[in-house]
Each structure stands twice: as structure tokens, then as C-alpha cells.
Assembly symmetry: D3
Homo-oligomer: 132 residues x 6
């Protein structure tokens, strides 16, 4: 099993809903350092898991839709409690959509899985892993 | 599959038993930077893997029993060769006991697994993974 | 010259004022990983720069006033463009006030300087250095 | 499941073959910070996954054959497009050969798997995972 | 004193000249993770040290001239022994030239100094500090 | 001004003396990740601050005298309260002695200063800076 990971980040405001979150129910924010890990069983004819330039561009594009925003005001996230865990899935699913639409190139058909990790600080992070 | 990780540390003295360990059989010490990763298949009703405040507090409490101690003198570790690997299991099992006793909250029943990683330096670390 | 540094973090929302900031004029947020570095020429009688427990507690207390807040709504910051650089000074000045009020202990009289660094991502950080 | 990881690095020149690589087809280079992770189900009689001194020495020896070289001129790599992913496999397979030849000690027979990760920068890395 | 730092990287091949360098006289390569730190005594009217977007773009542009190259073949570096230390000065001087030519914006006139750090691995780095 | 830094580590046991240290008066331990930074005004004829192989070897040798030891039993440290700060000076002074004895090579005569940083965890570190 092979994997390739690329890293980028986004800086957002949001508030969380539910008793569990205590003071994090207030409007606050986070820098998420985001790692996207692409997996495949065997390398393609070029000897790669994925074209790293395309993977980097895809991650950047997905994050650009959320970067420097207040997530409480983003229509597509209405109804989502934007926890770090939930945002991992949002980012992963958006990358997967782009992969399926050809955004990672033709060779990306051999990808088998994707993990997205959001680091919210030096002492806490979350991940979501899915098939591709 | 989702996961959440929290990080803390402990600073201990110990000595290792067995020819394999060479000079590490002498009394020496380590800072262990400790990561505890909690896993579950789906998020709970709040959109989380685990209440991060409780996860952080549980890890801190487990480490507090070992922090600033000479592990050679800790009665509960008698008979344990306190390698980094073995300490990963000690920390993981103690977190699991607290999780089962409700220390992570009612929602923690949905947790499926736990990994504990101890970083002993910038060039070496160990992990232990178990079910919950 | 000796120094001791302690690290903590805060997660805030804010918006920036001025053409220069482009999309960062929108409400967004950041995790700031914060390092406070204390300096002195010679060590005190205990062989330390500062009591690390007190330094850690002082940093945590200063950050607690800003953590999980929208800085645009914090009365004491009215009139401050809360750039990373400006927040370095806010944090440093508040630590200095507490040091002068005895919050770092009697031995802290020998401290000569303080630097506060705020890491806003894995690719950008700012610092402010002042005398004590 | 237990694991132990050791880290080292190598600094190499190379060029990549294929349209996909754009300007990386030119002769350039990389520092690879290399992590080798050894796995086993249960700890051995000493309470370890692998003798960390032998693991460290094995990784260093494998990297020494590539360190400070132009990989385009290394005979054993003729025909290999030396992408980060492909180099992960080269390093892992060479460690596996040494493990099978006894280089990790007799106790290493209980090892079940190996993952090699090459970090090519602060924003990109690749891994290869295999059985032992 | 305030500072702002931005990080990027470049991947180059080169060889070093002189007995001192032993096997590093062979053609090999490096990833340099590069930090550029800008200093000024007081913040400008926007509350910043430097426009971080311009600083990031300037660093990226300077590195783009060297990234994915064999430095032994770069005409402007003829006669330079491209040690990590020497490359720090090359990068810093090129950033300084662009700053003087207005590339960091009008407000950059207040900058007083610049430090460039090149990390060649997880265990070695070099810096060059100059006035602006 | 130029600098070069090399990193290594040591793992020690010790106890601290004085009311200030609370539970750290008990025998415990630490991994210190140690950075030694060498400074000089201009590069030497080879284009370097210091021969990095010799700097690395010197740091390793100095740490080898303390690594895997209980500092409470090290005769040369009798009377030293082995705080992180104090150990920075011990390491720096021993490196300086070796530099003066020629251990860094003839070219090291141009070195002007040395800083030693000991990281005791991911959230605390100390430094000592001296002339050479």
C-alpha cells in the first residue's frame, strides 16, 4: 500500500452548537493545518500515487471555498455542526468529488482511499478516512 | 472512520532490564510526548468522536500518575519492563478503563478503538493500538 | 544570557481593517500557538530564569481572556487592528503587567526581557520583543 | 498491535522521467527525512517491538547507500523512476532484506509489517507499507 | 522590536568544493525549508511589519529561480560554494533587492532587518541576518 | 551575521533542589532535544560557519557524557541544580572547551558565539548564549 500526503491550511471563524461545547459555543475561530493523504495499492505507470501538483491544487481549491470565512454564514454548511471532525469529512468529500470529476487526472482512477486530517492546534487534531 | 487525537506529556526516570538494552539498563529518564487517538465509525449527535475536553482531562489524569516519578519505584509497574512500547499499553489500558467507567461521557460508548503514541525523542516513537 | 520559553494556544475570531488585508477583512479566525520567552542575564539562586509553573500559568491566564472569543467584540481591543503582530504586543504587555504585579514570583525581578511569538499557521508567525 | 518508529535522513540528487513531472524532469534534489515503522502483534520477551539500536543502525546503513548520491547514476536504481513513493519501496525492501538476513536480531522474527515514510518537504510526504 | 516570518521551500541539486566537504563533494541535493523573517521597530499604520501576502510572494519568487535546479549550472552562482550558509545570503540579498525595488510595498520602507534560515534536514539548519 | 545549528538529544534522570520545584524534587527524568547554534560574522574560505560534521560530532560527544545517566550521580555536576537552564550552560561550556582545544578544526577560530537550546517537551525549552 502506497500513500502521498500534501499539506495546506485555512483560517475560519465559527461557533459550535450543543451543551457539550461550553465556551466554544461562542463565536471564535481556528487555523486548520490540513493534510490530505491519497492511497493506492500499486503505483501507476509514472511511479506515483497521484500527480502531486494536481493533489496540491485540488486541496488548495477546496480550502479556498472556506478560507477566511465565517462558517456560520456559509450556505452549504447550514445544518452542519462544524466540529473539526465534521470539517474533515466536508474537505474529504469535496476532494473526492473533484477526483471523480477528473480533477486529479486520468491516472487517479487507481486511487483507493483518502484521509483528511485537520490540526486545530499543536495539541489536538482529527481525521476522516474514506474510500475513493 | 473518524478519529480525534489529543497530546500531553510526562517526564519520568526508569531503567530497563535485559542485555538488549546496554547502557539503558542504567537509571536514566525520558520526556514522553503522548498522543491519544480515539476512533469511531460515525460521529455522535453532537458531530464529534469524543468530547475533547474530557479526552484531554482523561489523558492528563492518566499521565499525572506517572509524571515526575521514577517508574522503577511505582508499585503498579512492578514486573513491567517499562520500554516505550510497554508504556504505550499501560497508558492506553488506563484510558480504556476510564472510558469504560464513564470518564469520557455517555456518548463515548460509540468509540471503537484507541491508539497511544509515545514520542521519546525527535527521532524515535512507539505506538499501541487496541479496541475500545 | 539565558532564556526559558513556554507554549500554549488560543482560538479566536476577528476581522482586519484596511485595504491591505483584502479577503482577511471578512470575519474569519485563527489558532495562535503562542510562545512566551523570558530572558535574564544570570540564573537566580534556584538556578532558573523563571518559575516555569508560574510562567505557564501566567501565559494561560493571559490567553484565557482572549481564547474562544471574537476579538472584534472585546472592549479592551477596541481601536486595535488585531493583526498577528499587534496581538503579540497585547499578549506580551499583559504578561509584563502580571510580572510587575508579582505574578511570576519575587525572583522574577531579575528578568530583563520578554519575547512573544504567535504562530498563525505552519507557514507564518510573528514576534514582539520588549524589556521587562 | 504495537509499532516502533525511528527517523533519519538522506540528501540526494535525481531527475524524474515523464510528462507528468514538468520542471521536476530537470536534475534537482531533495532531503528526505525518513521514518521506518516496525510492527508486531505482541511484544517480545524484552518488552519491545524491535531492538531500537539495531533498527536505527539498519535504517542508517540502508540510507548510507543513497545519501549524498545522484540517484540517476546509481546502477541498482536503473529503470526506477525515483519518485518519493518509489523510493519508499526501495528503502522498505532493503530494510526487509536485512531483517530477513538477521540484521535486526533473532527477536525480529516476530515482526509483521513495516512502513517507510519519506518527507520531501514540510508540505509533502509519501509512505509505503508492506508485510515482513 | 517586531518581526514576521513566512516559510516556503526549494529542492535543488549541487556539489560542494573543498576537502572539508568529504562525500558532499559528489553531486547530491537538498530540500531547503526556507524561513524569511522581516523586522521593524514599530508597526506601520495598518498594524503590520510587512504585507504578509507580498512577503510570501517575494519569497516564492526568489526561490522559484533556484527551485528544481542543479545549482552547479546556475550562471549567477558561478564562483559561489553553495553551502547552506552561503545560500542563506543569496536568498536574503535577493529578497532585499526586491524590497528596495518596492516589491514589498511602500510601507516596507520601515523595515530594519531580515533573517533567512534554510533548514536542510530535521537536524541541521543555517541562518544569515542582515540590515534592510 | 551567520549561524549554523545542529540537533541531537540526551535522556537523563535527575531531581531538583529547592521549594520552587514542588514535585520535580522527586527523582524523575527528561529527554532533552539539544540544538547547538554556532555564529560568526563572515564565512570562512570554504563558505561555512563551522564544519558541520565536526560540529555534529562535538555535540554528540558532549551529550554522550550525560546521556543515559542519573545526573544526581555525576561527579562533575555535584553542586549544580540541574535545571534545563543550567544544563544549557553545562553543554555550551563543554562545547566551547572543545572548540578552544581545536575540536571544531582550525577554521573555528573565527566563531564569535554559541547558543545551546534544550527542549524538555513540546511546550517548554531553555537557552543559554555565550561568546566564543
Amino acid at each position: 500500500m502506497f500513500s502521498v500526503t500534501v499539506r495546506d491550511h485555512m483560517m475560519i471563524a465559527h461557533s459550535l452548537r450543543g451543551e457539550t461545547f461550553g465556551p466554544a459555543r461562542r463565536l471564535h475561530g481556528a487555523t486548520y493545518v490540513v493534510d490530505a493523504t491519497f492511497r493506492r495499492t500499486e503505483l501507476d505507470a509514472d511511479g506515483i500515487v497521484v500527480d502531486i501538483e494536481r493533489a496540491t491544487a485540488t486541496l488548495r481549491d477546496v480550502l479556498a471555498d472556506l478560507h477566511l470565512r465565517n462558517l456560520d454564514d456559509v450556505p452549504e454548511l447550514r445544518g452542519v455542526n462544524t466540529t473539526t471532525e465534521a470539517l474533515c469529512r466536508v474537505v474529504a468529500d469535496r476532494i473526492a468529488e473533484r477526483a471523480e470529476a477528473g480533477g486529479l487526472g486520468a491516472g487517479a482512477g487507481g486511487l483507493t482511499g483518502l484521509t483528511v486530517t485537520l490540526h486545530e492546534s499543536h495539541v489536538a487534531w482529527a481525521s476522516y478516512e474514506r474510500a475513493l
